[in-house]
Symmetry: C3
């Protein structure tokens, strides 16, 4: 996707998020819940976070997109994730898989492969997590095989669906010094998916918005504490013109 097109799309989609206020249901770990909810509110979406099996169907049924983060994975969480994905598919909702830390836990990696096979709209992880999930296969072939969009985040984020590739270098090293920054980024991708036609564009645009907010935040930060605060301010203040001007793609 050309830089100009990406910038234009990102700007248009962030305006749609502010106009539609999509509901994003997040199944995520306790470390990430608060920051993820605040990031979604800041960008203009409406988060919900329950992981109760009795409630998950009602919350996902009322949502516009779903985030499945594999942090703190036990049998109860696995069951809730399966229920949530079933509810998302029944409503044809877009959903994002974030295979957090699967390279550190064989049982989590095994479950991640089961969930990846269920057909997430987007899989977002850092390079180590995506490598563990694709088991060394080329990422574009892995994406094509699953008919999903895969985003491998790092100094430059790489987005691919097997047919298209985009690299988005926006961002800042302090983002790696704040817990749940990646988890919240996956939730923001879900918010972009909720208002977009094309998952590949939505994913790339969401990553650009996250990266630009990080760059703006770093200009005011004295360290990771003030960076996290400024990042939420930047997401909230990220107007489409500024996003279009700062968006980069390689």
């Amino acid at each position: 996707m050309a830089a100009a097109a990406l910038a234009w799309n990102a700007a248009a989609l962030i305006d749609k998020i502010r106009a539609r206020r999509p509901r994003i249901h997040c199944i995520t770990n306790g470390v990430a819940q608060g920051f993820t909810a605040n990031a979604l509110l800041a960008i203009g979406a409406v988060p919900s976070m329950t992981t109760s099996p009795e409630e998950i169907g009602a919350f996902v049924g009322g949502a516009d997109a779903l985030l499945v983060n594999l942090g703190t994975l036990d049998e109860g969480r696995r069951q809730v994730i399966r229920l949530a994905i079933g509810a998302a598919k029944a409503k044809a909702l877009p959903w994002v898989l974030d295979p957090v830390f699967i390279e550190r836990s064989p049982s989590r990696a095994l479950f991640a492969r089961e969930i990846a096979a269920a057909g997430p709209t987007v899989i977002r992880g850092n390079e180590a997590e995506i490598a563990a999930l694709s088991q060394g296969r080329p990422v574009d072939a892995f994406a094509l095989g699953l008919k999903t969009v895969v985003a491998a985040t790092g100094a430059t984020d790489h987005v691919m669906d097997g047919a298209r590739v985009a690299g988005t270098p926006n961002g800042h090293p302090l983002m790696a010094k704040v817990t749940a920054m990646g988890c919240a980024g996956a939730a923001i991708i879900a918010a972009f998916l909720a208002v977009a036609e094309d998952p590949f564009e939505a994913c790339a645009c969401g990553l650009v918005a996250v990266g630009v907010a990080g760059e703006i935040a770093a200009e005011q930060a004295a360290g990771p504490g003030s960076f996290a605060v400024a990042y939420l301010d930047a997401l909230h203040g990220l107007e489409s013109g500024k996003l279009a001007t700062r968006a980069r793609v390689v």
Copy 2:
């Protein structure tokens, strides 16, 4: 309640909270736990947060007030809530029900009605949550029927017990852009209940303190991230004179 009386009461009660440092036990969701604990510490109270069934009796037994927030509600959480309410009643502690998001989950709404019938000192929710709980009955009649104080929060917060009504317009729109702001507000109401004679006054005064802190925070905020930080600073620095001067009631 006249504005002057409310302002005077709010100022007197916040000084009592700082002098007595009441212990507030909170059963709340993982999204809200950290921010709620920090809000209670900032206002001068002492939070505890366990939701373990083995421990809940001891913690509530040693507390001065209880908060019951219905976020992330599963069977285990239901059981702990019932135990906590039993322990609060055995000690005649004031307790607050926060029926968060019950309009989004039928099973949660059903449980909320069970808990509302157990006689909370205060029920605090936003307008949608209170409407779902009162099932369309007039809120003042609903409050009178339950012999409880009901606070429906919004641009103006409305507090009623069936005999009295107060509207407290203090606050700022950024409060809706920070997760757990309402949950933390319900915990602050519990802190006011712990040092007050009259639950209606305590609830209205707690909401005024929350709203004034929000207004002070907004004067320094660049967005929801810096707002949440400034809000905790404002709660901590909220001295009774400033509170009395800024308190509004309609």
Copy 3:
């Protein structure tokens, strides 16, 4: 330990943490998870937080130190803690016990005594928690009996192993107004243990680093909200020279 030696050690150890980036697995309560993870990232360590029984062995097996915090203690959490300690011992990892709030819960105090008997490298608690754990015995005798290092934190933190004693007065009263500050401090002690030879030195140095960061943060804070933010910035910016200059011991 002389002030000069402590300062020198603290400076050397913080440089080692930045160079080695030790992995610290934390079993801690939902209130503390986010702030603890951010404090570890800020100091230069790598946190993981799962409490899932299926995963705990893999995460502790891949870690350099373990934190066991007793917040929100139920049967499942007890089981995970026992598994984690077994995995830590199998790898001869240093581990820290934080007996949070045991003076408020008899069942938690009982479990804390079981875990203390399992031989933690360091036990860190406030004065009330350490008194509840030592059941009134002199703390140095208690430490000697368990062959562990005990840190009782307060206005001055006291560290003892039965042979040595250090008092570290660094810190600021606002630290008591931010939830999970002590829990995060225990995690930072674990990061120092991961790169040190001598647990007593590591514990004292970790407490000094925490205290100095608190003093630096307080210089910029307007209240507990901005203090917590500035504290993370200060941990991140805490270079060894500044630490050595500000370290105090009595």
